[in-house]
């Protein structure tokens, strides 16, 4: 991505519950908040060192992340809805509340 792309932050989208693909069939909509954006400025010397060690195969092939992630650091408590069978469901931590580069 071009350097200087939109920085990591909170985005929001109104989606129907069914669109979340969790198996619930409901026409209700929820405000889905998620984290997106670049974390260029959050790179540390740790990342540089780790990237280099991985390139040199000094770090075994296990899963290693050598770049900060734009991820939620806090989530919204819960959101409830009624499904098409007239049964209520409550989802915990569906939406992000705060984002950061970690």
């Amino acid at each position: 991505a071009r350097s200087g792309a939109r920085p990591c932050g909170l985005r929001e989208l109104e989606v129907s519950v069914s669109e979340l693909g969790l198996g619930y069939t409901s026409d209700e909509t929820v405000l889905f908040r998620y984290c997106a954006g670049a974390c260029e400025a959050a790179v540390r010397i740790y990342d540089l060192g780790l990237r280099r060690l991985r390139q040199r195969r000094r770090v075994r092939k296990e899963r290693v992340r050598a770049h900060p992630c734009c991820r939620p650091t806090a989530y919204e408590d819960e959101v409830s809805f009624l499904d098409v069978h007239s049964r209520y469901h409550t989802l915990q931590e569906l939406s992000a509340r705060e984002c950061a580069c970690v």
Partner: protein, 423 residues
């Protein structure tokens, strides 16, 4: 004319204060505070009636009738609401005998109207919706969507749903007490532009009506293994000051009146809907009895089996929910987004218009002999008065509806008179 009238002291009208404030005023005045203490002792005694018969108690009552405590009121969801209500009932249980069918509402009359809510609702949801689209859409679903898009509404809605939906054990469906508390918080703290849309949305099909019925999660907040007798349920409700107040408020604002355009006292649908919603989360929680889209029937969870000789009174109590034209008109009005446009002065009727028989709601109304009712007649003027319209100096204020509610037993003819008197 009877001379005794001139001498007596005028008991003018004064704007009501809230009972917490009135209590402070009384406490600051030795005569009032001592009498109030006496009255509380009178009421605390086991045999209330004999205590009230003694001179000191009577004297205390006389003094307190002149104090601000006498006509103090409370506000829904005010800060010290319960304390306010406790003070109110400590006075009014002294004045009435208790066991009245209708009790005066401790709450200040509602001045806002449905049209205020519609205006706010349309601002929020930007709906000046196209009527064709809106006719087909599921209004209750739209209401849920609108709520989920408002953080405060979403949060409080999810809170009561997750509590009311949490199964405790195979024998205990849920924690009803916590569910009721969460429901009360929802209806107290979320603006009615959201809560009414979810509670009183109009429906064209069964799915929508079932969603409307499910709004308060009836399997936890409403239904129970057995249905108690409605008078027993009323007795239980009246033990708790809050429930008692909300029931009195419902009766005051929703009681069918045959002298108003809308069948509602002071033609205020909002007052009725607000007091109906105010009962949710208490023993007297009402709900839709089925999911038929158009046949709006609401009722508390009770019946009239086991009423003994009070079957008529029980059925009358139940009819105030299940066959109440004011409540039904109010729900339908909200659902259709209509409000009666009552200009503050109200329709003016020539003084001696011949009595006209109004569009008589087909269903029997309130008082028949079987009730030991003290207030079969509503002083609609009282509620107009309490809406801040100064009675005695407004020339305009002569319109007042004589609320002679008649018991329409099968086949009997009903007479309605409209009077205008000038003060």
């Amino acid at each position: 004319s009877p001379s005794s009238l001139q001498g007596s002291e005028l008991h003018g009208w004064r704007p009501p204060v809230d009972c917490v404030r009135a209590n402070e005023l009384c406490a600051a005045e030795s005569n009032c505070s001592s009498r109030y203490r006496t009255l509380r002792q009178c009421l605390a005694g086991r045999d209330r009636n004999t205590m009230l018969a003694n001179k000191e108690c009577q004297a205390a009552l006389e003094v307190l009738q002149e104090s601000p405590l006498y006509d103090c009121r409370c506000k829904r969801a005010m800060k010290k609401e319960l304390q306010c209500l406790q003070i109110y009932w400590s006075i009014h249980l002294g004045l009435t005998e208790g066991g009245e069918f209708y009790e005066a509402s401790p709450y200040e009359p509602v001045t806002s109207r449905l049209s205020d809510i519609f205006r706010l609702a349309s601002i929020f949801s930007g709906t000046g919706a196209d009527p064709v689209v809106s006719a087909k859409s599921n209004h209750c679903l739209d209401a849920a969507k609108a709520c989920n898009l408002n953080d405060n509404c979403k949060k409080l809605r999810s809170s009561y749903i997750s509590i009311c939906n949490r199964e405790i054990s195979s024998t205990e469906r849920c924690n009803r007490r916590k569910c009721h508390k969460a429901l009360r918080q929802f209806f107290d703290r979320v603006p009615s532009e959201y809560t009414y849309r979810m509670l009183f949305c109009s429906c064209q099909d069964q799915a929508c009506a079932e969603r409307r019925r499910q709004t308060i999660l009836p399997s936890c907040s409403y239904e129970d293994k057995e249905k108690p007798n409605c008078l027993d349920l009323r007795t239980l409700c009246r033990i708790d000051h809050l429930c008692r107040s909300r029931l009195a408020d419902f009766h005051a604002n929703c009681r069918a009146s045959y002298r108003t355009l809308t069948s509602c006292p002071a033609d205020n649908y909002q007052a009725c809907l607000g007091s109906y919603a105010g009962m949710i989360g208490f023993d007297m929680t009402p709900n839709y009895v089925d999911s038929s889209p158009t046949g709006i029937v609401v009722s508390p969870w009770c019946n009239c089996r086991g009423s003994g000789n009070q079957e008529e009174e029980c059925e009358k109590f139940l009819r105030d929910f299940t066959e109440n034209p004011c409540l039904r008109n109010a729900i339908q009005a909200f659902g259709n987004g209509t409000d009666v446009n009552m200009s503050p002065k109200g329709p003016s009727f020539p003084a001696t218009q011949a009595p006209r028989v109004e569009k008589t709601p087909s269903l029997p109304d309130d008082l028949s002999d079987s009730t030991s009712l003290g207030t079969s007649v509503i002083t609609t003027c009282t509620s107009i008065q309490e809406q801040g319209l100064k009675a005695n100096n407004s020339k305009e204020l002569s319109m007042c509806f004589t609320e002679l509610t008649t018991n329409i037993s099968p086949g009997s003819k009903k007479v309605i008179k409209l009077y205008s008197g000038s003060s």
